[in-house]
Every structure is written in structure tokens, then in C-alpha cells.
């Protein structure tokens, strides 16, 4: 601003003395002589200064300075109004403060975002885990149900029919057969509509056999799920179940099948005394 002022003023000063010096001093003298005149009011002086226009040194200098003022004013107003963002006119320290605040805000929002993402991940994980646990529970329920006899089972296996016309088959022979089948990997067994489970017991009851208190009569039909290639040889080994039964005049037939259905069920029973020690 001040440089803007000085250059035109210096130029004026250089060129002025050549032509205007004498009139200028005259004008100044005239002005000075007009100054003391007491009758002139301020309003008259203003009118006199404005009209008629006189090219005096004072007027020129003031004009140059006012030109500078007007120029600066217009430039400043223009630069202030055309920048719609308030940041343009802001001072450096204000800008730094605004930047700091924005940084803080960004940081806060970033933290919040991380927290929320973590929470989301946890929720997703926990729901995944719950789903997985549920699946495993269902699977285990199926496995345990087959063992406990509470669900029906199907799969490859064998059917063994023991026809006992003479009534010589006793409970211990059937028990031997069951043991043999279990040793050969039988997974589900039923005899004449009674599911054989861990707690199954067999007793003799005149001319027939009771399984878990249910009396069953010949012919005894065993439905066994397991690997047929293991089960059948296990029964047929020399001195094994089949030979022993045939010695007692019973006829035994063993058939392999790709689909054995063991559908005799047993109610789930809550044990009275035994409790799981893992919980």
C-alpha cells in the first residue's frame, strides 16, 4: 500500500516543478490569503473547493492519494466478497487453530469408527460362534441319540434271523451274539422291535427271552447297522456265534443289506444319581 503511494507521488514531484511551480506557489499564496478571510463558512469553502475545478498542486496530490485509497478500497472489498469461503481472510493463527480442531475432530471420529467396527466384529464373531455351537450341539445330539436309542438310525448293515423251533436258544446266546456284533463295530442294534442300548439286559423267561423286560419270541430278528463286511465274518467265524447256535439246533441266516432301518426307540431317561462331572 505504502509503496503504491510513493511511486506516483514521486513521479508527480519530479514533473511538477517545471511547469506548475510558479502557479502553485501563487495558488498556495492565494489559498493562504483566502484562509484568513473570516466571513467564509465551512460550507462555502467546500463549495469553492468542489466547483469550479481548479488544477492546483494540492488538488493533484490529494487526487493521487485518494486514487490510491479508492483503488485499495475496491480491491479489498472485491477480494473480500469474491472469496465466499471465510478461510481466505482468516489469519494464520486462526487457520492453524481451525486445522487443529479439524484434526481433533477427525481423530475423535476415527476412534469412534474403530470402536464401532470392533463392536461389529465381536457381534459377528459371537453370532458365528453361537451358530457353530448350535450346529455342533445338533450333531452331537444326533450321535448321542443313536447311542442312547432315542432316535431312529439307518445305514448299511446286516439282518440276522435266528429261528428256534426247539426252544433251545437262551439269553446268554443272544447276549453273546450282541457282544460279538458290538465287538465287530455295530453301531445300532434292535432285536424284534426292542432297541439294544448300553443298559440293555437279557433274561431267560420260560421258553423265550426277555430283553429289558420285554418278552420276545422266536424267530429272533437282529437288525444291525455297521460295516457288513466286518459284521458277517464276525458272526461266521469257526466256533463263533453261528456255529454255537447251530449246535443247539437253531437255524441262523445272515443277510447283508445296504439299507437297514433301526426304528425302535427308547425314551430318553434322566439318570437319577449320575451327573456329568464336566459341568
Amino acid at each position: 500500500m505504502s509503496e503504491n503511494e510513493e511511486t506516483p507521488e514521486n513521479r508527480l514531484r519530479k514533473e511538477l516543478p517545471e511547469e506548475v511551480e510558479a502557479p502553485a506557489t501563487a495558488a498556495e499564496g492565494a489559498e493562504k490569503s483566502s484562509e484568513p478571510t473570516p466571513g467564509l463558512t465551512g460550507r462555502q469553502r467546500l463549495a469553492k473547493g468542489v466547483w469550479p475545478p481548479r488544477v492546483t498542486r494540492a488538488q493533484l496530490i490529494v487526487a493521487v492519494l485518494l486514487f490510491g485509497l479508492g483503488f485499495g478500497l475496491a480491491v479489498q472489498v472485491a477480494s473480500n466478497s469474491d472469496s465466499d469461503s471465510a478461510l481466505r481472510g482468516a489469519r494464520q493463527e486462526d487457520l492453524v487453530r481451525i486445522l487443529d480442531e479439524l484434526d481433533d475432530r477427525t481423530q475423535r471420529l476415527e476412534d469412534e469408527k474403530q470402536g464401532l467396527e470392533k463392536q461389529r466384529d465381536e457381534l459377528e464373531n459371537s453370532s458365528d460362534q453361537a451358530e457353530e455351537a448350535r450346529k455342533q450341539t445338533v450333531e452331537k445330539e444326533g450321535q448321542l441319540g443313536i447311542l442312547a436309542g432315542t432316535v431312529a438310525a439307518q445305514g448299511p448293515g446286516i439282518t440276522m434271523t435266528i429261528d428256534d423251533t426247539k426252544g433251545t436258544v437262551e439269553a446268554d446266546m443272544l447276549l453273546d451274539a450282541i457282544q460279538e456284533l458290538r465287538a465287530a463295530g455295530a453301531e445300532a442294534i434292535q432285536v424284534n422291535g426292542v432297541r439294544v442300548v448300553a443298559g440293555t439286559y437279557l433274561t431267560d423267561s420260560d421258553k423265550s427271552v426277555s430283553v429289558d423286560g420285554n418278552k420276545i419270541n422266536a424267530p429272533y430278528r437282529f437288525k444291525v447297522i455297521g460295516k457288513p463286511e466286518d459284521l458277517e465274518p464276525a458272526l461266521n467265524i469257526p466256533g463263533g456265534v453261528v456255529q454255537t447256535l447251530e449246535k443247539e439246533q437253531a437255524t441262523v441266516t445272515v443277510e447283508r443289506s445296504n439299507k437297514i432301518v433301526v426304528d425302535a426307540l427308547r425314551a430318553a431317561k434322566q439318570p437319577d444319581y449320575a451327573r456329568s462331572s464336566s459341568q
Binding site: 484562509e35 468542489v50 469550479p52 485518494l66
Partner: protein
């Protein structure tokens, strides 16, 4: 008359040219403009009082501008630029008002 013409021409030139304000003088331009306004009002009052002197006007105009810019510059260096420029604007505003009051008394006799 010539002086008023100069002001008008300056405003028109500023609007038409629209120069980019250099970043160095940007903080000082508003203060300098206010200081120059103060000098102009002072000069007008002096003219109405009949004691106007062009030399005094030139010196007061330039020194006002320079001192105002200097104060803001110093304030910026001291870290109180915003407060100091506010102070300068307040002081100059008070002076402009008192000068305007004197001018009003001359022109309207009230």
C-alpha cells in the same frame, strides 16, 4: 473536484482491474485502507476549518498508512495480530467518527 474525481477513478480502476492481492500485503491492506480513510476525513475537516495544507495531508496520509501497517506487522510477529488490528480499527473508527461529527457541524450547522 479533481480530488473527488481521483477517488472515483480509483474505485473504478480497482473494480475493473481486480488485481490479485499479494499474500505479503494481504493482512495489511484493510488496516491501511481504514487508516487512509481516517486521514481523508481529517483532511476534509481541516478543509472545512480553513486550515487545510496539502503537505500536512500527504504526510498524515502516508504516515497513517505506514504506522497502521507497522502495528499490524508487529502484532503478527508478537502473536497478537488479531487483537492489535482490532485495536487499530477501533481507534481509527473513533477518530473517523469525531472528524465526521465536526464535518457535519460545518456542513449542516448542526
Amino acid at each position: 473536484m479533481i480530488a473527488v474525481l481521483g477517488l472515483v477513478v480509483g474505485v473504478v480502476a480497482g473494480i475493473l482491474v481486480r488485481p490479485e492481492v499479494p499474500a505479503v500485503v494481504e493482512p495489511y491492506l484493510p488496516i491501511a485502507v481504514v487508516a487512509a480513510l481516517d486521514a481523508v476525513f481529517g483532511g476534509l475537516r481541516a478543509m472545512l476549518d480553513g486550515i487545510f495544507d496539502d503537505k500536512v495531508f500527504v504526510v498524515s496520509f502516508l504516515s497513517n498508512v505506514v504506522v497502521a501497517a507497522l502495528i499490524v506487522f508487529l502484532g503478527d510477529k508478537l502473536g497478537v495480530g488479531a487483537q492489535l488490528s482490532t485495536g487499530v480499527v477501533v481507534v481509527l473508527g473513533i477518530r473517523i467518527f469525531s472528524n465526521a461529527a465536526a464535518i457535519r457541524r460545518h456542513v449542516f450547522r448542526a
